[in-house]
Subunit: 529 residues, 2 copies
């Protein structure tokens, strides 16, 4: 596949004149620029994409079975791209082929899961209250409700998952599943991967006889394209995965327009609490698991465990020594791009400069040929230091973590309750007896996070109905929403109510006799009848 480097809408690359000098992807392992040149979408291209998207909304939203087939077709098309997709993605991200292949599997699995969700139909939350014509003092009309698509969604993919959280990732899959056209902002760190995936989506729309306007891909290396997408009056929702700085900036842009649902998943420090009994019983195993979680994907996961609270006793000393040995042995590895490495090194420097913060392990090495290689690191401090320095609560994106030595479990609870902002995840390690008494601590962890993990690690986000990937601000902009799991489809729907409708005018999902065989709330009772 020869890449054209242009934004796409209406079923193919833009034929409008390319503006500006453009930009290229860079291989972070070698520092080499990759062909072709990509061009930022112009305001006119953004406008055309959104006009087409709006025009496609009713058609895309009308037929659930066709959308299910579309998602399955996209999954097959991504698989059909074979090694070409893996090659391009590894070149653009520095991630190994095995990881990209696994991520493609997850991406395709996600698309197929949403196909099932659409067919099953309970996500529509169909409700029927039948008329009571004889009710006194006034008759009750027939009232029915289901959810309908919001309209065009602007999707901003992340750099750290070039497939699963990018152009055909969870946001696009759930938006298309909901019946919403997608205008995706290509991530400038992997624009070629974005184009290949975007073309797979465009081809799938054509194959499924769905309007080409239901998908567009906008390239952009600067902020203007993202701002343009958020501000466009026909954008009906935004889904973003990435840094706090990026997500927050787009959220503030969204405040300048009529209100729309704005979903940004922005990462967190994902606190881990190790209770003393667990440290004594299996501190070594926890250290091993933690080191793996910290270094997985070169630490470039929003669920990376960035702060560990433990009681300062002998077992914790052994645990810290083990963790520090493991991190010292962990090799340097290539981050997604040189800019991320620069931020990582700056973050480490910031921590090392703080009084009371200890740094364990080797100094950062040179960044390698692409100036993108990162050295794992461990920091330690006591509870007072953690209280004094709000910087210690900020995410350092990369393979490092901070162990906070506390005097007691009560002090850990105080830090969790008063010194943590919203988190995607929170983890507790304890023995059976400790967990039996940990209700208060677990309640505190639950109050600040979207997912609480017992005796595990936060990396590894299952795609399933019960997964919640989100949390209180600033982990996410909207704590009511998840960006992983089947409930993600809800973000792109709103209720519509039908009063006094004749059967023929009702959508099939709300007709008498339940022709779609869906779970519905009929006169207050859940039923498939």
């Amino acid at each position: 596949m020869e890449l054209h480097g242009r934004s796409m809408f209406g079923g193919g690359p833009s034929s409008l004149p390319a503006e500006g000098d453009g930009f290229r992807a860079i291989n972070p392992t070698t520092g080499e620029s990759l062909d072709p040149v990509f061009h930022d979408a112009s305001p006119r291209e953004i406008d055309e994409a959104l006009n087409l998207a709006e025009a496609a909304t009713d058609h895309l939203g009308a037929d659930r079975e066709r959308r299910a087939r579309l998602l399955e077709h996209i999954a097959s098309a991504l698989e059909g791209l074979g090694d070409a997709l893996v090659d391009r993605a590894t070149q653009e991200t520095g991630l190994p082929a095995g990881r990209i292949n696994m991520e493609r599997g997850r991406t395709c699995g996600q698309l197929r899961l949403f196909a099932k969700v659409i067919r099953e139909g309970s996500y529509l939350d169909a409700r029927i209250d039948r008329a009571l014509p004889d009710r006194e003092p006034i008759p009750k009309p027939d009232i029915r409700q289901m959810h309908i698509p919001l309209g065009p969604v602007a999707v901003f993919g992340a750099s750290n998952f070039p497939l699963a959280f990018s152009v055909a990732g969870g946001d696009t899959a759930s938006a298309l599943a909901a019946g919403c056209p997608v205008v995706a902002k290509a991530h400038p760190a992997h624009p070629g991967t974005c184009e290949m995936v975007g073309r797979a989506i465009t081809d799938s729309l054509a194959a499924c006889d769905l309007p080409a306007g239901a998908f567009a891909l906008m390239h952009g290396a600067g902020h203007a394209v993202g701002t343009g997408l958020v501000r466009h009056p026909k954008t009906c929702a935004v889904a973003f995965t990435g840094s706090f700085a990026g997500g927050n900036a787009l959220m503030l842009e969204s405040h300048k327009r009529s209100p729309i649902p704005f979903y940004a998943e922005m990462g967190s420090v994902n606190p881990v609490v190790i209770l003393p009994g667990a440290a004594a019983e299996r501190g070594g195993a926890i250290a091993t698991g933690l080191q793996q979680a910290v270094c997985l994907g070169v630490g470039q996961f929003c669920t990376n465990p960035g702060v560990v609270f433990a009681v300062d006793d002998d077992a914790t000393k052994v645990f810290v020594d083990k963790l520090s040995d493991l991190l010292a042995e962990a090799p340097d590895a290539t981050m997604l791009h040189a800019g991320i490495r620069t931020s990582y090194v700056a973050g480490q420097r910031r921590l090392r400069a703080l009084d009371g913060v200890g740094h364990v392990g080797r100094d950062p090495d040179e960044g390698g040929a692409g100036n993108a290689d990162a050295t794992p690191a461990l920091f330690t401090c006591d509870a007072d230091t953690f209280r004094e320095h709000p910087e210690l609560r900020d995410e350092v994106f990369g393979p490092s973590t901070l162990v906070v030595r506390c005097t007691s479990v009560a002090e850990i609870e105080q830090l969790v309750g008063s010194f943590l902002s919203g988190q995607l995840t929170a983890t507790v390690h304890g023995t059976g007896d400790e967990l039996g008494d940990a209700g208060h601590l677990v309640g505190l962890l639950r109050n600040v996070s979207g997912r609480v993990i017992v005796n595990g690690f936060p990396t590894g986000v299952e795609v399933c109905p019960s997964m919640h990937h989100g949390g209180p601000f600033p982990a996410a902009s909207d704590s009511r929403s998840t960006s992983v799991g089947t409930a993600a489809i809800r973000r792109f729907l709103r209720p519509a109510c039908y009063q006094g409708f004749p059967q023929t005018l009702l959508p099939d999902e709300l007709k008498d006799g339940n022709p779609c065989q869906m779970l519905r709330l009929v006169d207050g009772e859940w039923s498939r009848e």
Copy 2:
């Protein structure tokens, strides 16, 4: 009951020094001031109320059965206030006793309905995916999810429903049902009614052995108290019912703080389309129904039908004549306060000044003893005039409506599709044959509104599971939410996910064996087992 006129928190009236001169309620029928003087809440009172509310969150959220009993107790307490509540509410609002009694019935019914919703439990959307320890390449952990309360909610009641959309109205009922403490802003037009209802809630919390901090009532005649509530860092969500100006101002305030769910229901013009066959077949009956809907509650409903589209034929002429006769015969009636009448008269004057807009009926009479009486009015124009003047799409709050004469149904569709912003409701009247062909029109109406009504009138909002009272902006600030009906509880919840939990640490709702006998999604299947 002697009214004390003070803001309430911690189970009783504030004991902090009252600031400022205070304000009084005014009887709009007579213009007389009513005792006592009410005092604006001070920043310190707001702060104490929200600190107590936050501290009460875990306790209130812990026990569904106790919350159900609380809601039922509040309903009984409101009934127990007997005629004293009706007397005060009629004096403060000018609404007749029969209406207030009916509204109390609705308010108590709403509270008891939410008690049922809590007990039934499906609103928690409990989900369980059991572990697959043998899964390859990595085991799947046990993951469970349910919804938990957001935390303290600031509730802003409306003037036009002093009970059903005020201190113990739908927002408070659904927030308490969700497990969220409520800090209610008393409406300055009916502060005595607010105090009586607030005391009923406070007494009910004590009777149910729930923390006093779970409810507070803040008085305020100006903007400062509302702004203070929205900006307070411990406020976790806002629910507002009222004017666009008020709701929008508070929404902009909310943008200055960390993001929280903000729900404002702000009214709309509620378009009504009369298809030609229906006009010919039963134009007179439609005119009668429309006049009643326009004048109900002196037109002070957010679902008041403010714009009517009809084809300019003989039947429509007869319909307009009939409607104009009926509105001319309708007596003046007292609005909620003199300020609303001033806005209503100004709105009428604005329309009458526009070229192409005809005014039918008598000139506004004097405002009566309280300067709050309103004269019903009918305006007419053609489609071109409607297109030219965006003011014609703005709500005129009061007993008036505008009939837009169009050349064809296609022109009506064009106006609906391109010249209407978001609406709470949209209505179509048609014969059976016409409705059979009305799919496109109904789709357009659905796209701009939250509820579409066939052959009925938008006033009269049923409280039931399938009701949706909301809509695209500017009808509401968040089109995903409803302020009426059982789904309103969802506004105040967020998902929480539990991974790898031992049974003893799980909430009962997520335990094996389904001890709460709730509908849950277990391994992808809905089940009560």
